[in-house]
Amino acid sequence: MSESARNILEITDVSKIYGPLKALETINLTVPPGQWLAIMGPSGSGKTTLMNIIGCLDTASEGAVRLDGLNLAQLTRAELTGIRREAIGLIFQQFHLISYLTALENVMVAQFYHSMVDEGEALAALERVGLADRAKHLPRQLSGGEQQRVCIARALINHPKIILADEPTGNLDEANESLVMDILHNLHQAGSTIVVVTHAPEVAAHAERVIVLEHGRVVSDK
């Protein structure tokens, strides 16, 4: 029990089955708090599926997932929604910003569904990703890199226990990629637990630990 309390994430024998396809097969993975983990693997190897299970957007077909000591399999849909709200910060490859809201408002949306909006705090989050001067811009007025940084600010705003980023630099050029990696470095330094999916080795190289998936199995863990 003390072991599980120490780990923020514990995945035991998790499989995800889509009809005849096993997207994940008996995955075992433990992540201590504050770790920066990178998940690599070819397209279709199950990286996004694993991220969705960790992020409470999906459930495992078999096996147990413990997030911060909670067994996700025992939770209802509404409770999983609550976990997403309280404990998880999501960063997507396609950003998924709301097109009709400004950068600032997009960050505030996360506060809105979490607890209470606080414009000053949202602005501070934008400042941390270097976008204070872009607060009033709509997503379409921002570059890809800037949109991804808004997305990061949104993921951070409610102080999540774990940050999940699925190919966060997949749509970015090198300059923006290094900006985003710098922000992740700062977060890591501040003690955040980070899981990043990527198939770019130079992105994975920033992490403390890299696991590689192939056909739904962990084939390497360094």
Partner: protein
């Protein structure tokens, strides 16, 4: 909570204002629906009124005569009884007096009328030429005019004897030839005042024709009142016209209501389809909000609030457009201005809001049930 409510209002506002083209499509759908609804219901209200007036065009529906139809009444008698007529439903009231007259030794019937009132009670009279405007002018019935080859502008002399057997004569200028399809085609139509002056006998009326917009029940009521209060007079409703008028009216109103119902359901389908498209387009946004931890209920409520705003806005615009549409229809079909029914606007707005929300329910529920993982995959 108030900070969050304020933010919710801000989100809804931007969703409507910054997605302007989308908003306009949805708003257009709702507005068209509300316009059709408003104008049809307005016409439903107005058609009986309008048609009642149209039917009045086919003549008087209440005739005053001396009790039993024998003898002549005085103007004072008539005016007393006429005071019972509801002023707001009275289209016109004309006294009539008939006299036998001669022209070049040939006998004719002259009828004395109040030309101004006759135009109201008998708007179907077609006059070739102009209506008499001053003393000494007259209309000749079309049959008479044909027989003695009268044309507008000619003059003729009418003569005869009054009750005291005194001879009289007077020269008239024919200003127009009147055809009515009725007995008047064989008459010389002069003004009542000319007739009184010519015969030297005043205050004798054979009958008076009234045209009212009242229904047949109200006419019988008036008739009963006249009988009770003025035993010397009789007010006869022209029942045949009145009752057939009501049959036609009720059938027509039923038809308009039926058409409204059909149009309303078509409108609802149209609005529902539009809302479906609008909501389905935003599945990613819904998925994202759910991924951020929004409960289904909360997301659904936000969409319905947007629907409510659209419905109210569309209902308001529709009421304004509907008023113009109904006015245009009324003007082109009935040739009359419409009486606006302002109390229909809040009803239209409410119906349009309800219809929009109902139309949103199914697509919102479907969109909210979607798994965020699926829409956010975006491959």
């Amino acid at each position: 909570m108030s900070k969050n409510s304020f933010f919710l209002a801000r989100m809804l506002m931007w969703s409507l204002l910054r997605r302007r083209s989308r908003l306009l499509i949805a708003l257009l759908g709702v507005t068209i629906g509300a316009t059709v609804l408003f104008s049809l219901v307005t016409l439903c209200y107005d058609i009986p009124r309008q048609l009642s007036r149209e039917f009045r065009s086919y003549g008087a529906n209440l005739v005053f005569v001396k009790a039993g139809g024998v003898g002549r009444m005085s103007l004072a008698e008539l005016n007393q009884a006429a005071a019972l007529l509801p002023a707001e439903q009275l289209v016109g009231l004309t006294p009539l007096r008939y006299e036998s007259v001669r022209n070049h030794m040939l006998p004719y019937t002259a009828v004395g009328v109040d030309f101004e009132e006759a135009r109201k009670t008998s708007p179907y009279w077609r006059v070739e030429g102009v209506w008499p405007a001053r003393s000494g002018e007259m209309l000749a019935g079309s049959d008479v005019a044909e027989k003695i080859r009268l044309t507008p502008g000619q003059s003729l002399t009418l003569d005869g004897r009054n009750e005291a057997q005194e001879r009289y004569d007077k020269e008239f200028k024919v200003t127009g030839i009147v055809s009515t399809g009725g007995v008047e085609d064989g008459f010389m139509v002069i003004s009542l005042s000319d007739m009184e002056e010519m015969t030297g006998e005043a205050d004798r009326l054979d009958l008076a024709e009234a045209s009212l917009t009242s229904n047949s029940a109200a006419l019988s009521e008036i008739s009963a009142q006249v009988k009770a209060r003025f035993p010397g007079l009789e007010a006869r409703p022209v029942t045949r016209v009145a009752s057939s008028e009501e049959t036609v009216l009720s059938k027509l109103t039923a038809l308009v209501y039926l058409v409204s119902l059909v149009v309303l359901s078509l409108t609802m389908i149209c609005v529902a389809t539009t809302m479906m498209t609008v909501v389905l387009e935003r599945r990613r946004e819904i998925g994202l909000k759910k991924a951020l931890g929004a409960e289904n209920r909360r997301v659904a409520r936000e969409f319905l609030a947007e629907g409510l705003i659209l419905g109210v806005l569309g209902g308001f615009l529709g009421s304004v457009c509907g008023l113009f549409l109904a006015g245009a229809v009324s003007a082109s079909v009935f040739g009359r201005a419409l009486t606006p029914e302002p109390q229909l606007a809040p009803i239209t707005i409410a119906v349009s809001a309800v219809v929009t929300i109902v139309a949103c329910l199914a697509p919102v529920r479907r969109a909210v049930d979607v798994e965020p993982a699926l829409v956010l995959r975006g491959e």
